[in-house]
């Protein structure tokens, strides 16, 4: 959608086909686990476009249509309806989907949250005041669902297979701080044990953990990560390896660019092949990829952003910019961890590589800028000292 709008704003006046497997026009995903689930927003408020605006941009929509094959030699995309669409240039933005648990496949009451329909279904479960909500996987989406459910007054248990939630991204210390926000708000956080199985006839009744514990469950939300939607490309000749492999300017093949959750490209700033699952990147990379496709890449700098995302957990706005690892050095550069209003810098190989903020948006953006400029770890620490 962002890419298509960019094609128009950059002067492309040919036909633009937009293919999507959902029945909905494009919508904004972040509010799904927050305002929509909370019941504060009617679902239609997440719409990113209106039929009128849609008409202005004169897109050809193919909703409820799944792309099933890309033929690069003939420049054609096949749809599940049997239709074939010819193209001069293609933008792959097929996103990712939630990993589901096979053992829960046929049980009612077990959900993943990715799309609008998922959010509406979970919300209507919450509207029925379930006795026990279980969230499997303490990732950021799972944690947002847990927080939203708890704020609706529901009994919530969050289960994480790792010993410390969020450790893979935030490191042990900051992961613990984040998990404690949930504990203090009354979420029952269980760590270090995987889910073994589910019990129930047609509908889920209990979640059984690896250590034998059985938890009552009326509604289960599974948030254990996503997988890029690349199956339709498997015979295309494009290189697929946990995403569509692109060059440093987001080109995946002749006349083909990729953007968003599905794209994997070498980010020069971090010297790392990355695939980013954040809202902000979907917007920025969508715009970049559209320009790349329209104008060619000669005059463009490589796509090398500092990834950034935010998540709302209870009354905390948590933001993370950069590319952090659990082994990074960390330093609280402002505020108080006890009060949960602080920012923590992450350093690796002598460079500033990340900034985590708890209700500290201003600092996060300052240090995000410094990360983009390639600031050394020492310079970042000195700067922090001067400011304090």
């Amino acid at each position: 959608m962002r890419a298509a709008e960019t094609l128009r704003s950059e002067g492309f006046d040919g036909t633009i086909h937009l293919i999507g497997d959902e029945p909905h026009l494009p919508y904004d995903r972040p509010p799904l686990s927050k305002q929509v689930l909370a019941g504060d927003w009617q679902p239609d408020r997440v719409a990113l476009t209106t039929p009128e605006k849609n008409e202005d941009l004169s897109f050809e929509w193919h909703l409820s249509s799944k792309a099933t094959q890309l033929n690069i030699a003939e420049k054609k995309i096949a749809l599940d309806s049997g239709q074939t669409i010819a193209y001069d240039g293609a933008i792959i933005a097929t996103g990712a989907r939630c990993i589901s648990l096979r053992m829960a496949e046929n049980l009612q009451g077990v959900y993943t949250l990715r799309g609008l329909d998922d959010a509406i279904a979970i919300r209507s479960e919450f509207d029925n005041s379930p006795q026990n909500v279980v969230v499997v996987g303490a990732g950021f989406i799972g944690a947002e669902v847990a927080a939203t459910a708890r704020q609706r007054g529901l009994n919530v248990t969050m289960i994480e297979a790792a010993e410390i939630p969020f450790e893979r991204v935030l490191g042990a210390e900051m992961g613990t701080v984040t998990a404690d926000v949930h504990r203090d708000n009354g979420v029952n956080v269980i760590t270090g044990t995987p889910v073994e199985s589910f019990k129930g006839q047609t509908r889920v009744e209990k979640v059984v953990l690896g250590d034998g514990t059985e938890l009552d469950a009326d509604v289960v939300i599974v948030g254990i990560g996503v997988r890029p939607n690349t199956e339709w490309l498997k015979d295309s000749g494009l290189v697929i390896d946990n995403g569509v492999i692109c060059d440093e300017k987001c080109q995946a093949g002749p006349g083909i660019v990729a953007a968003g959750d599905v794209a994997r490209w070498p980010n020069k700033l971090f010297n790392e092949q990355m695939r980013v699952e954040h809202w902000d990147n979907a917007v920025e990379q969508g715009v970049y990829a559209a320009r790349r496709l329209l104008h060619g890449g000669q005059s463009m700098d490589p796509y090398a952003p500092t990834p950034w995302f935010w998540t709302d957990q209870f009354d905390r706005k948590i933001q993370l910019a950069g590319r952090t690892r659990p082994t990074d050095e960390i330093k609280v550069i402002t505020g108080s961890v006890e009060e949960r209003r602080f920012a923590t810098a992450y350093g690796r190989d002598g460079k500033l590589v990340g900034i985590l903020g708890f209700n500290r948006p201003r600092h996060v953006m300052q240090y995000k800028q410094m990360i983009s400029e390639g600031t050394s770890w020492d310079d970042a620490l000195n700067y922090a000292k001067e400011q304090s």
Partner: protein, 66 residues
């Protein structure tokens, strides 16, 4: 042709993305609130203001022409 920046402060959550893109116009201060430093900045900075509006996670920034 000038333009005017309008921020819906009911939507704004002070994510400060706008501040990173156009610091001459948007500032999130230590009180966590967004301040508009210049509601009618010139055309020379319009591209940044438009990018800030596009990348606002809450879509709280609007640009009124005229």
């Amino acid at each position: 042709m000038g333009y005017r920046i309008q921020v819906d402060f009911d939507l704004c959550e002070s994510n400060a993305i706008c501040m990173q893109i156009a610091p001459e116009v948007f500032e999130v201060r230590d009180d966590d609130f967004l301040y508009i430093l210049n509601e009618e900045p010139g055309d020379e900075i319009k591209a940044q203001v438009e990018e800030a509006a596009q990348r606002c996670p809450k879509q709280a920034i609007a640009i009124a022409e005229g």
